[in-house]
């Protein structure tokens, strides 16, 4: 492992201008992506944005039509690259009639220096499940087994495609703790998720993918700042059309007396709102969470495409 030390700047895998068409859809349209060691990179995007295709190209399951995918500096299908990879794919159904311990023994046998079974059980929260048949587990337990299989080989780079789908709060916290522990040991993680608080809780870097293109890359704060919006809500009789014409106002919606406004600059907006309507009440100002920042990006794109 001397060639790949735990230096945080080491790039473990990368996509360079990768293009990949699936049927009529350009699933990846010139995507650049770097996965550093010791970091969690979250890949965000709506369904069909190209997240799973990006993972599959990085894992060598699909060849890129153009551009280049590299895993540990090698083509992703190379055995030497695979030997350091763990993965939890989205659509995997493991054999129902095998017990958890049997599945774990099988996947461990594929690695030169796998984690001990006890470590896998502890990290993935599989206490008491080793003897149970996979098909008799709950959806959340099955997901944890898949997580255990992904980490059992001490991978240097872990691909987790929506790892916590179907997990309850406790189980999700357990998986998050495990991911943090693996990253602290120097592993790189690529995570796709629908739970945006998951990206906020775990990710050092966020890559927003939309219609096969990278729309934003950076820390969670960077990406949020990129869409530096404030949500302002209040009860007021002011006409929406008037507010929509004010500088910095991006979006106005009304539900009864309740106005919801998205604006680039909350301070100016609030000052003007109070001037315009002395009867205004129940004022509320929020910073956009990653969820909103992210849906807004995608929505802007829809508007642009429609125009």
């Amino acid at each position: 492992m001397s060639d790949v030390n735990a230096n945080d700047d080491t790039v473990l895998a990368r996509l360079d201008g990768v293009r990949r068409r699936r049927g009529a859809v350009q699933a990846l349209d010139g995507v650049d992506l770097e996965l550093p060691a010791g970091r969690v990179t979250a890949l965000l995007g709506v369904n069909g944005a190209g997240k799973t295709t990006a993972i599959e190209v990085l894992l060598g399951l699909q060849p890129p039509d153009g551009g280049q995918a590299m895993l540990f500096g090698l083509p992703p299908t190379t055995p030497a690259a695979k030997a350091r990879v763990g993965a939890m794919l989205q659509q995997t159904q493991l054999p129902e009639r095998l017990a958890v311990g049997e599945l774990l023994a099988l996947v461990r046998s594929w690695y030169a220096a796998p984690r001990s079974v006890a470590d896998c059980v502890a990290l993935a929260g599989l206490d008491g499940l080793l003897g149970r048949r996979y098909g008799r587990l709950s959806g959340g337990q099955q997901r944890r087994v898949q997580f255990a299989l992904a980490l059992c080989g001490r991978p240097r780079l872990l691909f987790l495609d929506e790892p916590t789908t179907g997990l309850d709060i406790d189980a999700r916290q357990q998986v998050w703790r495990a991911i943090r522990a693996l990253v602290a040991d120097g592993a790189g993680v690529l995570l796709t998720t629908h739970y945006l608080e998951e990206a906020e809780a775990l990710a050092d870097r966020v890559v927003v993918l939309d219609a096969g293109r990278v729309r934003a890359t950076g820390s969670v704060d960077d990406v949020r700042a990129r869409v530096a919006q404030r949500h302002v809500a209040c009860d007021s009789a002011l006409p929406e059309r008037e507010i929509a014409g004010w500088p910095g106002v991006l979006h106005v919606a009304r539900d009864g007396r309740r106005l919801s406004i998205v604006a680039a600059d909350a301070d100016g907006l609030v000052r003007r709102l109070l001037q315009a309507d002395a009867a205004l009440s129940n004022l509320e100002v929020r910073r956009a969470g990653l969820a909103e920042a992210f849906t807004r990006m995608t929505r802007d794109d829809d508007t642009r495409e429609a125009a």
Binding site: D3, L59, G60, L61, L74, T78, P79, A80, K82, A83, V85, G86, A87, L89, Q91, T92, Q93, L94, P95, R97, L98, E102, L103, A105, L106, V107, S109, W110, Y111, A112, A113, G153, F159
Partner: protein
């Protein structure tokens, strides 16, 4: 050999293959709908057609059908053991997961092949027991050994055919498609009843079925074959195996 080999941490290929075989066997043994038809139907049919109905003509049927039901058992174990399970694993993303991870590229194939061979051997032994105890069949040890060897090795071309079906069929369609091939081929190759008892047309077109060639090799051991060259039969089986396997593996590499 080259620079890559030096950077691959050494993994015991044995360990991977043994684990794979263990899982494959456990999976199947826990699947009664596979085990019972595969292991019991050949013996059951043999008892009916070879011993109860055919026993009256002085043991000829018992000897002939001993050979052909061994082929029948091999055919079932290989076609179902590959066709259905490969379709299921492919559809459920298991093959994709294997390709994403450092799984040995061929261990899932060798494990299934060994499983099919083991099942073929078990069927052969069941038939041998029935034939010698109830059918009055008496063969030299070398004949028994030859029969069992032919059955076990015969799993290879039919495994390749099963693989091809499993690669093209959906998991839902696979059992039906395998049956559509398996049952007519078994009947028309003279595995259930001697070809001489079938309409002459069927006997004449029998050589188009790979199972016919396997059966001829087995029948030759008990002196009941049609007199064709064993090399021709062997060559046909080898060709079928190579063609099916290469089409299947190419598609797997391309489409997954």
């Amino acid at each position: 050999m080259n620079t890559l080999d030096r950077t691959v941490p050494r993994v015991s290929a044995w360990r991977g293959h043994l684990q794979e075989l263990r899982c494959e066997l456990l999976r199947m043994l826990r699947e009664p709908m596979y085990v019972i038809p595969t292991l019991l139907f050949p013996a059951l049919f043999y008892a009916m057609f070879g011993l109860l109905m055919g026993g009256r003509d002085g043991g000829g049927a018992a000897q002939y059908l001993l050979a052909t039901y061994g082929v029948f058992g091999t055919l079932g174990a290989s076609l179902f053991g590959f066709g259905v399970t490969v379709a299921i694993d492919r559809e459920r993303g298991l093959l994709a997961l294997r390709r994403a991870l450092p799984a040995p590229p061929s261990s899932w194939i060798t494990a299934r092949l060994v499983k099919a061979m083991l099942f073929s051997l078990v069927v052969s032994l069941e038939l041998a027991l029935l034939a010698s105890v109830f059918g009055g069949v008496s063969l030299a040890p070398s004949q028994w050994a030859a029969l069992w060897t032919i059955n076990v090795l015969g799993a290879i071309p039919f495994a390749a055919m099963g693989l091809l079906l499993g690669v093209y069929c959906s998991a839902n369609a696979a059992p039906a498609v395998v049956n559509i091939l398996f049952l007519p081929m078994a009947f028309l190759s003279g595995l259930w009843l001697p070809l001489s008892m079938l309409p002459e047309l069927f006997a004449r077109i029998a050589p188009v079925w790979p199972a016919y060639h396997h059966a001829q090799l087995a029948l030759r051991v008990v002196g009941e074959d049609g007199g064709g060259s064993p090399w021709l039969h062997l060559g046909t089986l080898a060709l079928v195996g190579v063609v099916c396997a290469s089409i299947a593996l190419r598609r797997l590499a391309r489409v997954g």
